[in-house]
Structure formats: structure tokens, C-alpha cells
Symmetry: C2
Subunit: 414 residues, 2 copies
């Protein structure tokens, strides 16, 4: 490890992210039943096959009538039938007639208006009953016209949309049962380091339990990827490459953690040079998480996160989550929330700072952000206890309690 090599200039976070995303795209579309696509991304646009509602329907319980018959209170009508949801009345409403109708039921031909049931008196709840109009209606009231919601042929969902339960409901209602979505990307997770002991093992002197792999496997899965555990690569030349080549499924992305420890750097250079092409050892203008490796291994895109668990986790939110979204056919830009700072902060240096923080909403729904007292990037407990990152741009001025600052909420599952 040469010691007197000057550090490269720091790379801005946004530029690092843009470079990472540039090389990534979803690989393959597949057809999937709508009940199984929560979190998946559409590969094609979707048009409605059916109109909603398919015919004019009543918006209320009442009577379907002709407005021309109801121009005065005390007008009398005769009930001639009933239209219920799923059981339309197939006659034609003519002068002086009313059809009992319920919410969602088809408005019979001839009728142009719905009288609310509370605006009439009915002699009985049977055909032949006399209906007295107590309130003059507005013509057309309480009718939902055919196609009010969706018209057959309308574009309803665009390629690139991530599906939610509510979008599934829309697609189902419009006549679909399956849609084309991008395959979930296979993301290989590889830890590196002689100091790591697999979970369940007993750490010897100087050793620690490897938590990054399980974190990243859980993280990738919760982001919509299929995580592939590539194990722990020891600090020996060729071991990274061997672990990646041992994967039993084709990988869309390899994510490593660690590799900045003594000696490892050279193995990574050797492994990646033996197998690949461009190779970036980026020093990013962020804290924590300065060192990031970017390249390809066996022509698979590679993202090398820091070994420090907190740095690795922050980089996973800032870089890996958008990368998985891109490989899934979608897009992820973290939502930034303006929040009131609860304590003073000194001026920031040249790195964008991601302070572990608690974001709370007060009773009036206003966000307040409190950075953790200890910001040591080795402290997993502090990161685990945070629900947001307070993001300070490079050279941010000193801030006082009460100032508005930017926070990035952490996903409750990540």
C-alpha cells in the first residue's frame, strides 16, 4: 500500500451516483400475475381493456326517474322495478315511472336522474308502490356516467411504474390479470476481510462478527432484488473472483463490503484487472463512506462499499438503493424533508455529512430532527437507532437549534 500517493480530489455524491447508475439497466421482462407484483416495475405501458363503470350507475340509494316527471314537489310516480348491483332492471323507464335503485346499480334506460331515498315518501318497498317526490331533483344528479373512472383504451399505467396494491386494483378493474414486469435483479453480496467471523461463530482476538453481509442481503431483498450470498472472501489474491464465480445464478450486480484493509486493495486490483475493465477507487465527498470501489468483475457491475458497517449502510441507502431500483426498471430518488433542527451544529467541512438522526413529527405534523449525540461511524447501535439521516452539504454554515435543515428518512424496513 503506497503511503505517499496524494489522495485524489473528492468526488461529489451526485456525480458518483450518476456514474454508478449510468451502467445499469433492467435485463429481462416476464409476465406475472397481478396478485404477485407488489414492488415490481412495469416493463410496458398498460391500457384499460374495460371502461369503469361499464354503464351509467347510481351513486346513491334511491329511485331512477325522469327529471321531467319531478319538476314539482308532491309529484307522484309509480315504482315499476328494482335495479341492484349485479341485478340490473332491463326495462325502459317511461313517464310517471320510478325504478328502485341502489348504489352501484345500473341506471335503467329512460331514466336520467336519481332521487335520493330520503327525498321521497314510498307507500311500500314493492313494485306498484306510489313514490311522492318531496325534493325537486337537479337533472342528472347522482348518476356516474359510463367511463367516468376509466375508458377502455385509455393509458392507465406507464412502463417504469412500481406497482402498489392500489395500482394492482386499478389494473384488475380495467380487465387485466397479469402484466409484464422486469425480472428482479440478482445482487451478489460479498464480504471481504480476514478479521470477519461468520454469524454464529466465536470471534478470536482481533476478530469481529460479519454483520454487513446479512445487512446487505436483507437490504437488497427489501429493495426488491433477489439477494445472492457470495460468502466471505479472505485477503488473498483471486479469492474475490473465485467467490463471484461460485455463484449459481447469473448476477446483475456484485456488492462487496470491505476491501480497504491492508493488503486487500492489491487483491482487488489484481482480481478486477484479471477479469475486467475500468476500475474506480473513489474518494467521495461524504461522511461516513468516503472510499467506494466502482468497476466490473467478470463484466458484472461491481459496487464496493466500505467495510465499516455504518459507512456501508449509509452508502447502501445513497448508492445501492437507487442502483437496485434502476436494475429493477424503476427509479429511486431519496425523498428529502425539511425539518427543524433541535440543537446547534458546527460548520461542516468539504464532505457531505450524513448524521445519524431521529426525525419526529410534533402534534402539529411538523418534522423535528435531532442528530445523535455520538456520530462515531463505527457505532452500529447509533445507526440502528436512527430513523433518518440529517444531510449537510459540503461547507454548510454553522446551524442553530430552530434552523430548518434537510433530512433523509430511512425506510422502516432498511
Amino acid at each position: 500500500m503506497p503511503m505517499n500517493e496524494g489522495p485524489p480530489p473528492l468526488l461529489p455524491v451526485a456525480e458518483a451516483l450518476a456514474r454508478i447508475l449510468q451502467g445499469l439497466a433492467p435485463s429481462q421482462a416476464e409476465s406475472c400475475a397481478l396478485q404477485d407484483v407488489v414492488g415490481r416495475v412495469l416493463a410496458t405501458d398498460i391500457a384499460a381493456r374495460l371502461s369503469l363503470p361499464p354503464a351509467a350507475v347510481s351513486a346513491m340509494d334511491g329511485y331512477a326517474v325522469r327529471a321531467a316527471d319531478c319538476t314539482a314537489t308532491a309529484a307522484l310516480l309509480t315504482r315499476v322495478g328494482e335495479s341492484a348491483a349485479g341485478k340490473p332492471w332491463d326495462g325502459i323507464v317511461t313517464a310517471g315511472e320510478a325504478v328502485r335503485i341502489f348504489t352501484g346499480a345500473v341506471v335503467p334506460d329512460g331514466a336520467d336522474t336519481i332521487l335520493l331515498q330520503e327525498d321521497v315518501s314510498a307507500t311500500a318497498e314493492t313494485d306498484g308502490a306510489t313514490i311522492t317526490v318531496n325534493e325537486v331533483p337537479r337533472e342528472g344528479q347522482f348518476i356516474r356516467p359510463a367511463g367516468l373512472d376509466v375508458t377502455a383504451g385509455d393509458a392507465i399505467l406507464a412502463a417504469g411504474t412500481m406497482m402498489s396494491a392500489r395500482l394492482i386494483a386499478l389494473a384488475i378493474s380495467a380487465g387485466h390479470t397479469e402484466v409484464s414486469v422486469w425480472r428482479r435483479p440478482h445482487v451478489g453480496i460479498l464480504s471481504t476481510g480476514d478479521e470477519l467471523v461468520a454469524p454464529g461463530g466465536t470471534p478470536g482476538p482481533g476478530q469481529i462478527i460479519s454483520s454487513n453481509a446479512t445487512y446487505l442481503l436483507s437490504f437488497a431483498a427489501a429493495c426488491g432484488a433477489v439477494p445472492v450470498d457470495l460468502g466471505i472472501a479472505r485477503d488473498r489474491p483471486g479469492e474475490m473472483l473465485a467467490c463471484v464465480r461460485a455463484a449459481t445464478v447469473p448476477l446483475d450486480l456484485v456488492v462487496t463490503s470491505g476491501g480497504a484493509s491492508v493488503g486487500t486493495h492489491d487483491h482487488i486490483v489484481d482480481d478486477l484487472s484479471a477479469s475486467g475493465t475500468e476500475l474506480g477507487f473513489w474518494k467521495i465527498a461524504m461522511r461516513p463512506g468516503k472510499p467506494l470501489i466502482h468497476g466490473r468483475i467478470d463484466d458484472i457491475p461491481l459496487l464496493g462499499l466500505p467495510g465499516n458497517p455504518v459507512s456501508s449502510a449509509v452508502c447502501a441507502n445513497v448508492f445501492l438503493r437507487p442502483a437496485v431500483a434502476r436494475l429493477s426498471g424503476g427509479n429511486h430518488a431519496p425523498q428529502m424533508v425539511s425539518a427543524k433542527l433541535s440543537l446547534d451544529l458546527k460548520a461542516n467541512d468539504r464532505r457531505q455529512d450524513y448524521l445519524r438522526a431521529t426525525l419526529a413529527y410534533d402534534e402539529e405534523g411538523l418534522p423535528v430532527v435531532t442528530p445523535a449525540r455520538k456520530q462515531d461511524s463505527s457505532m452500529i447501535s447509533v445507526y440502528a437507532g436512527a430513523n433518518a439521516l440529517l444531510v449537510r452539504p459540503p461547507y454548510d454554515a454553522p446551524r442553530q437549534a430552530g434552523d430548518m435543515v434537510m433530512a433523509m428518512p430511512l425506510d422502516p424496513l432498511l
Copy 2:
């Protein structure tokens, strides 16, 4: 369906929710590997088995020394060994000695301070090299003491906590491989109504495709439940009960949609009376979603949502999500966000209003909420296109563009 029965007084949303949650509890704990518990809820408290770090470690790359040897610049030390992550140096640092050390490596006995590598000159990167102190250190600097992060025996996670990737990392680091979590609740989803056609079918006159079941199955799964499809119950006495009894797994909750259509009401009363106990037909002070059924069927808690897809979806967010969280051993209170209203709104009536809306953050991170122009509760497309509900309390005064109002963000997966 009696028509001149006066409507019961409207039940406030909070009271309805409290009554629903009252009867619900998680049923059974199970041991689960940590890599599989994202979104699951801890059934027991968790204490650390290991301290983090297990021994004092260096926070930086440099040299482990005795501060007493470095009280002046130009002090000279002799490099006697190297401590790297996973490869500690097991000697004792004595007067005039320095041990090369890297971030995360164990601080050798005898040393009490870390010199930054940029604050020294070294004649070589080998043992025996002479190290010149160029910057007088502060005693103890850049050492992370044993247990800084977590001390063995400390409580680190409380029962009732929903596990995230970052909490998994903490538990793994602290020596755990599996934890006790509550079993995912089995939630049966039952649609009711003669007007419904199963997805993929062709609706006849007056019929519509059933979207609620797929919506609720997707919703329940995304909330952490195991959804159980109970099919469509037609409007005949005994059919609901038959569908529920046909389930092949024990159910923790039955969710119905529909059942307020003509004739169905009586079947529900008959079915539930035949099988159960208390039965509430609630008219809740909310829009959409006024009618809600609450009771037990075969002694299984039952939540009857409206058949209107938008009402059903809003009620799922307001009532079902907290119910699933409670059955999962956790807790869900929707987060309310104060947001700037982008247009004027008239005064609200006696019902709490959930307007379909778009919540966007401007460049300064400030939330702006825009209610959809059409609020017809039959319009699935409007609900599908919303990402928040603008919540107006009963009797809310008229609001003007620029006023702050309360919004409930919709989960991107729900």
C-alpha cells in the same frame, strides 16, 4: 332492509379503531434466522451477547504509541510490529516503541494513543523503521474503547420492535443468529356480492370485476400478514360462513368487502349470529368509508369493509393496517404530515374527510398537498394515482391555498 330506521349516531374514527384493536393480539412466537426477519416483530427483548468493539481498537490508520513518548515534536520511536484488522499484534508496547496500526485493529497492550499516519515521518514501512513524531498527540486520541458501541448484557432491542435491515445488523454484531418473532397473522380475504366477476372473467350486464380481493390480498401481504384468499361469497344465506370455514389454515382475522348491498345485510346478520357473538354495523364519521362491520365469525375477529373499492382502500389504511400490525405483535400509527395546501377547500361537514391527494416536496424539502379535482369515491383511478390522503377533521373550517393541513402519506407499496 328497513327504510325508516333512523341512522345511528356516527362513530368517531379513533373510537372505531380503538374498538377494533382491543380484541386483537399476536398468537404465537417462533424462532427465526435473522436474515429472514425484515418486517417481523420481536416477541422478546434482546440483550447483547458480545461487546462492540470487543477490545479497544484504532479509529484511524497510524501508529499505536505511549503518549508519554510523544510529548514533543521530533520525538523518535522505533516500529516494532503491526496490528491490522483481524491480525492483532500480541506484544506489549514499551518506552520508545510504536506499532503500525490500521483502522479497526486492536490497540496493543501498553499503547494508549494513536498517532495519525499523516502526523509522522517513517523511514520505511517495515519493523525497525524509525518514526518521527511531527505533531504532538492528545493522550488517548483515536482509540475506540471496548464496548463503546455495545456492552455485552446490554438491552439492545425491545419486544414489539419491528425488525429492519439495520436492526438485524445490530443483532448479528451483538452475537445473535436468530430471534423470537411473532408468527405472521393469517388474514382471510372474502369478497361478497352477486355483481362481482372474478378477475379474468367477462362482466355481464350490471356486473363488475372484483378488484377488492386482489387489492386486500396484496395489501395484507405488504403489511406483513399471510393473506388467505377466501373467494367471493354470493348474496345467499350461509355463503359467507361456508367460505370462511373452507379456509385450510386457522385464521387470525377475516376481512370482508361489500355486504352492504341489498339483501346481503341480512345474510351477514344470519351468518354471524349463527356463528358468533357481538356484531357491530358501524356508521363511522368518515368519508369515504362510512359503513363498517365489526364482529366475530366462528369466533374469528371480523372486519367488514365497504364494497366500494376506494372506501375499502381508505378503510384498509385506517383500520386494517393497524389491525395487522397488532396481530403481528407491533403497532402502527399512520404518520401525519403537515403540508401546504395548494388550493381552496370548502368547510367540512360532520365526517372526517380523507381526500385523495398528491403530496410533493418542493426543492426546499417543504411538503405541498394537492387534493385530486375529482373526489368521487367510486373512482379507482383517482385513488390509484394518489400518494397521500388529505385528512380533514369533522367540521373543519374553510381552507385557503397556502394554509397548512394534515396529510397521511400512502405507503408506496400499499
